[in-house]
Symmetry: C2
């Protein structure tokens, strides 16, 4: 990470007092961890700060929501000197009411993100693609370029972001500096075992049973086992009482299989199927597949939507595209 | 880790030239990673060194075995100036022919381990319980106290040990220094993504299907879901063509369940059942249960054996003991 950029970001943080923090819709662990972490540090260091989270976060994050997060009423954008948008690649994904988007983009908006395809919609943009998580950018900036105190609570939130965006240090974005910064967060007092238990060892029993059933019933492979996919139907979700927003990690059950290069989960949505794609190998970029289907993402993790009446239709489209990708 | 002890160990390594390396029977990731890692560093730094591994390692480690490891004939103990035993808590668990044990204990034996209950059977004993893995002791010693070069290959082996004994940085023994040392190994060129793919994302399809079946058929819970167990019968192993020695990580499927404090897998063995125990909470030490059953291990991970004709008999014994433990 370039020290200059971090210092500039540090100056922005130090030089303002009245913050509103936002993140992307359907917030994941990094969105939530960055939001809660920066919010906590700002308030604990004597700054005025609000954070807005219009959606209920996935269940595993619920025990972590700090006091003072605004969830129930849209914020008054005009009343802040600095609005920070975290971990959000495009302005249309910002987690705020549609009616406020236009006004938001005319505000003093600071865009902090690690997605390489970030659309630079902020007045100032701090995009650091070699950071594994937005939470990591926040941590290193706060630590090296602001002199602000990072409490145990704040370190725990930032560690949450780093843990979730690296899949618990299992994804390809985990580098020597990622582990060094994780060590720094641990030294700052992050409650690591609470996080690990909450994030990785707290699958509800009904989820584990559903996952087993999905494997037994719906797991399919093709291309000599290099492609694995499963259709997570609304019926199976209902049968086990699992909510769709709590299935973020489900695809790992396919990703972990030996020989699998590409893994896909399909979900029913409106008049088609939402698909979640993972690759284990940069040679096979699932972002390419996703973009061809009007979706997006990274080389190794992407998402898209296929309009289709029947799942077998969507599966066929995917099978052709992935066959071509695997060559 | 105490610098003095590491310096002393470093002197032993620097001061000898003709090494034999051993580890414990039924070698796990740390045993194998430490053995291969130290072996590689010694040879690459101009020392004579042999390493003996009398058993086939679990499948996931097979692609990593370096050239020159002795697997087929018992070593001539008298021909070495220094014998190093890695990651082995008691002399009866050393991975060497029984007939050689007595002679071995009269040799210049160096005992390097992180198990707090190590029986100090060596002529010199370097036991560092706050190390997450024996591989971590080796790495820090080599790096800080020998000046020896650690190649990418050696760093990969040592990272393997650290990864496996921390469950990929998910167990309670993962501390700030663990992550810092992992960062050091990564900086030394450890092939992290190869390791992650081989260790965590290479479950054979038949294993994944067996795991799903085990959950669907044999997963039981008790004490309001605080205790979860499953009996992995020989029949289910045979049905899916899975070998017992490749089921090291199977217990994590139970450990990951929300609310579970204690997880147990039972396997058939001889005239009874081998049991593998995990706890998520130091308040509930499974080592206590294991010791009461003539087994052993750590507070959070232990193993034992119950003599019983029928699995329900063994399950009943466990249920009572764990009920008492959970209070």
């Amino acid at each position: 990470m370039t020290k200059n950029i971090l210092d500039e970001l540090g100056s922005v943080i130090k030089g303002n007092d009245n913050f509103l923090l936002l993140t992307h819709e359907k917030p994941d662990g990094d969105a939530i961890g960055s939001l809660f972490g920066l919010f906590t540090v700002l308030r604990e260091n004597g700054k005025k700060a609000d954070a807005y989270l219009p959606e209920k976060p996935p269940m595993r994050y619920a025990p972590f929501v700090p006091e003072g997060i605004i969830t129930d009423k849209a914020p008054d954008l005009g009343s802040y000197s600095c609005i920070v948008c975290l971990d959000t690649a495009t302005s249309d994904r910002i987690g705020i009411e549609k009616s406020l988007k236009e006004k938001l983009l005319s505000c003093p908006l600071i865009n902090i993100d690690h997605h390489p395809d970030n659309k630079l919609f902020g007045r100032q943009n701090f995009i650091i693609p070699d950071a594994a998580a937005t939470a990591e950018i926040i941590f290193v900036t706060l630590q090296d370029s602001t002199g602000m105190r990072i409490s145990q609570t704040a370190a725990t939130f930032l560690m949450m972001g780093l843990l979730m965006d690296t899949g618990g240090f299992r994804f390809d974005n985990t580098g020597a500096s990622t582990l060094k910064n994780a060590s720094g967060l641990m030294a700052a007092g992050a409650d690591y075992s609470r996080l690990i238990n909450a994030l990785f060892f707290s699958q509800p029993l009904n989820f584990v049973r559903m996952e087993a059933e999905l494997v037994s019933r719906n797991l399919r492979t093709s291309f000599s086992g290099r492609y694995a996919w499963a259709y997570l139907s609304d019926e199976i979700l209902a049968e086990f009482g699992v909510e769709k927003r709590d299935t973020e990690s489900l695809i790992d059950i396919l990703r972990q299989i030996q020989g699998v290069e590409i893994a896909v989960i399909l979900y029913r949505k409106d008049d088609g199927f939402k698909i979640s794609l993972r690759s284990k190998n940069k040679k096979y970029s699932v972002a390419k597949v996703a973009r061809a289907l009007n979706g997006g993402g990274h080389e190794l993790a992407a998402g898209a939507f296929i309009k289709a009446g029947d799942v077998s239709e969507a599966e066929k489209i995917l099978l052709d595209m992935i066959g071509e990708l695997l060559g």
